[in-house]
């Protein structure tokens, strides 16, 4: 069985290699469209905005933006809610067509590169100064909004994942201070596990088996990385001993302390936590709001949730965080590009971002103090945001995501289908061929 699985993975990698061999060389230059300008002439028009469901956590900011936008332009706003799962498939389908093109699109900050490279987005370079705080944008977001020296997207918000835990459950298990090392985290989780030995669906730490942002955080903590670039050629690094050590640490969490998530991703982890059998998760600060949401979660948990930074395998240190987040862009084919840019302008201006800072890391450093002042939890995430890691900056990175390379590797590891060595080897081959594909 195992050998067969490895065979399949190797075959998959070989397939990817053969694809690379036949693809064209030479990148296509982007941006045929010239710059666009902001427009407030929208009477009788409706713009369409693709936003991820995460923003339902700050619906007030969205609503107010829409109101201000409608007042300023006379145009209406139609928000189309999206899901992260299979999102790039949907983006590709939309960009390849001429119908159903929205005027504003949200991108995960790891996804923008391939769309900027393919010339799918309107050039916003000349408008940069019109966006508030544009000189102080968070580096982790600003980097993903530029391509070949031009600006194609506007930073929207950032997110850093920390440990979110149930204060009541942790203290009931006799733990009073947050762990300061990974070893201590494990021993705390042992205590939690022992305290709930009777509950077979209890997760001391719920860690879905496809949660690659989490696993890669462990990889970076152990000194590993996903891939490195030299002279334009990418080399995947998951087979390195450091990366394997990190995956070993992560696997322990996912197999020893987590129940029920081995074959799923993190999309519904907040809802799972709200069901009451989970003491700890790894997520963005605003996910606490989702856990305690009266509609999708359990409002009784509102005052029971707190955060701490994920402790490192090195005593007294914390793991570097993945600086996640989103950018907003205007599709090159948008029929109301100026209005779309205007909506982004309002949604990311100082007023909106100050409001947004209640929930997520704002798009600029000027407001970071406002964010930290909101709550103790934000202090933790604010600190975590100071030491971060990023995904490979290749325009082909989105293809690694849409092919679920990391997710499949992690699931194989957690379910015991492959050893860490075999799984990383297969994933590295696939990542190499995907990142180095040209055309």
């Amino acid at each position: 069985m195992k050998r067969k699985a490895i065979g399949a993975l190797v075959a998959a990698a070989a397939m990817a290699l053969s694809l690379a061999a036949c693809s064209s060389s030479g990148g296509n230059s982007s941006s045929k469209s010239g710059g666009i300008s902001l427009s407030t002439d929208g009477a009788g028009k409706t713009i369409t905005v693709w936003l991820q469901g995460d923003a339902k956590g700050w619906q007030d900011v969205v609503d107010e933006t829409n109101q201000r936008f409608e007042q300023a332009t006379g145009a209406k706003v139609n928000i189309e809610w999206q899901n992260w799962t299979n999102y790039t498939t949907k983006l590709d389908s939309m960009f390849s067509g001429s119908t159903g093109i929205p005027d504003v699109v949200e991108f995960g900050n790891t996804q923008t590169a391939s769309y900027m490279a393919a010339g799918a987005l309107a050039d916003l370079t000349s408008l940069k100064s019109k966006f508030d705080n544009s000189s102080a944008w968070m580096q982790g977001l600003a980097d993903t909004a530029n391509y070949n020296g031009k600006l194609y997207a506007i930073p929207y918000y950032g997110g850093v994942r920390t440990v979110i835990y149930r204060k009541d459950l942790w203290s009931a298990a006799g733990i009073t201070t947050p762990p300061t090392s990974l070893a201590q985290l494990y021993s705390d989780l042992d205590k939690l596990k022992a305290a709930h030995a009777g509950d077979s669906s209890f997760s001391a730490f719920y860690m879905p088996g496809q949660y690659w942002y989490a696993a890669m955080t462990f990889v970076h903590d152990a000194g590993g990385t996903i891939a490195t670039e030299k002279d334009g050629k990418w080399t995947a690094q998951l087979e390195s001993s450091q990366a394997q050590q990190g995956l070993e640490n992560w696997k322990k969490l996912a197999t020893d302390y987590s129940v029920g998530g081995a074959t799923t991703n993190e999309a519904n982890q907040d809802a799972v936590m709200a069901k009451g059998h989970v003491a700890t998760i790894f997520g963005s600060g605003w996910e606490m709001g989702v856990v305690a949401d009266p509609k999708t979660g359990d409002p009784k948990l509102k005052d029971q949730l707190a955060t701490f930074a994920m402790p490192s395998q090195t005593d007294g240190k914390y793991m570097p965080s993945f600086f996640g987040g989103s950018d907003l862009a205007v599709p090159a084919k948008s029929s109301n590009a100026g209005l779309g840019a205007e909506w982004i302008q309002i949604f990311t201006d100082n007023k909106s971002q100050t409001q947004l800072a209640k929930y997520a890391i704002p798009n600029n450093t000027n407001l970071l103090s406002a964010y930290k002042a909101q709550s103790a939890a934000n202090v933790v995430t604010g600190q975590a945001a100071e030491n971060t890691w990023v995904t490979p900056t290749s325009p082909n990175w989105a293809n690694v995501e849409s092919a679920s390379v990391l997710q499949n590797m992690l699931q194989d590891i957690v379910t015991g289908k492959s050893s860490i060595a075999d799984a990383t080897k297969a994933a590295d081959q696939k990542i190499d061929s995907t990142l180095n594909a040209t055309g």
């Binding site: 699985a5 498939t89 590709d92 669906s201 074959t263």
Partner: protein, 330 residues
């Protein structure tokens, strides 16, 4: 033909009293006086077939013969039009062991599902033939309900039944002595996962098979069966020598159809695997979707789709021959 319900139109047939009064040239239906009419009748159907099936078929072949770019530029700017490369994509797909792994998996999956569905279908059909009226109505009623459930829905229901923490199945199995199924994840191992998927597929396929096979059974002349029994044949012998030959044409068609359906199973796998089936769960349809649509490799996806259609057409040759023969018999 005269099923209940449409006797009245026949009785009211206005031609009845007058027929035969007039001497007439016998009009043959389809005679040359109506030469243009059949063509007029098939114009709409032909137009639709050409537009919605013919054109996409041409397009998919063109796509499969054009170059697969790895970036998205051509896709976003030229509607996916790329230079012609001949059979390069076919060589790539066919030369890739992943493709053959997928094909092998699909064949095994299809064989297991078709075998199970047909065996159980015949079993239930025979059962329906033996039970009391009320029991037959009950079982047929339940089967009709099952048939009405969309595959997407049944997949979600089974996904929930087999949920590792709160699912009914794990709880029930756990009650068995010596079995510990607490928190068992059915989808960790694709073989078990496919077991669950097979259950959904068979569950959804049985109503059609059982009900139509039962309808076929009722056509087996009772006298023949009685005669066989008088001659001392066992039930099994009677089944083999009388019932089965009568069911054969129906079985051929149902088998062919089941093969085609199960070969192309998609929804059940896609929904059970949360919209992104892992490589171990990819049958040919899912593989084609993941490669072609999921990763936006339209040319490679088209190549796989063309190969998939070739397989289907090869399998249905038998079926079409049978249908054509029937069509000619009329």
């Amino acid at each position: 033909m005269t099923a209940a319900g449409h006797a009245p139109p026949v009785a009211q047939d206005p031609t009845e009293p007058s027929s035969g009064n007039r001497p007439r040239r016998r009009r043959r239906v389809g005679g040359y006086r109506a030469a243009g009419l059949p063509y007029l009748l098939i114009v709409p159907a032909t137009a639709i077939v050409l537009a919605v099936a013919g054109w996409p078929l041409v397009k998919i072949i063109l796509l499969s013969l054009s170059k697969q770019e790895s970036g998205k530029y051509a896709l976003f700017h030229n509607r996916g039009t790329t230079p012609f490369t001949g059979f390069h994509n076919f060589a790539n797909v066919l030369g890739d062991s992943t493709f053959w792994t997928v094909v092998f998996r699909t064949i095994v999956f299809t064989a297991v599902n078709v075998g199970l569905s047909l065996l159980l279908g015949i079993g239930i059909a025979l059962l329906l033939n033996r039970v009391s009226n009320w029991a037959r109505l009950l079982l047929t009623g339940v089967l009709l309900f099952v048939w009405a459930v969309p595959t997407t829905v049944s997949s979600q229901v089974f996904y929930w039944l087999f949920n590792n923490q709160f699912g009914l199945v794990n709880w029930l199995l756990d009650k068995l002595p010596g079995v510990n199924m607490r928190g068992h994840d059915w989808f960790a191992d694709p073989i078990q996962g496919f077991g669950v998927i097979t259950l959904v597929v068979v569950w959804g396929a049985l109503p059609l098979l059982a009900i139509s096979l039962h309808a076929g059974l009722t056509q087996v002349p009772g006298e023949l069966l009685d005669a066989a029994r008088v001659d001392g044949a066992s039930s099994w012998q009677a089944f083999r020598s009388v019932t089965l030959p009568h069911l054969r044409p129906l079985l051929v068609i149902l088998t062919t159809l089941s093969i085609i359906w199960d070969f192309g199973v998609f929804n059940q796998i896609f929904f059970m695997r949360n919209g992104h089936p892992e490589p171990g769960y990819q049958t040919i349809g899912v593989y084609m979707y993941a490669e072609g649509v999921g990763s936006s490799h339209y040319n490679l996806g088209s190549t796989i789709a063309v190969l998939m259609m070739v397989c289907v057409f090869a399998m249905m040759a038998v079926y079409i021959r049978q249908l054509i023969r029937m069509g000619d018999a009329e």
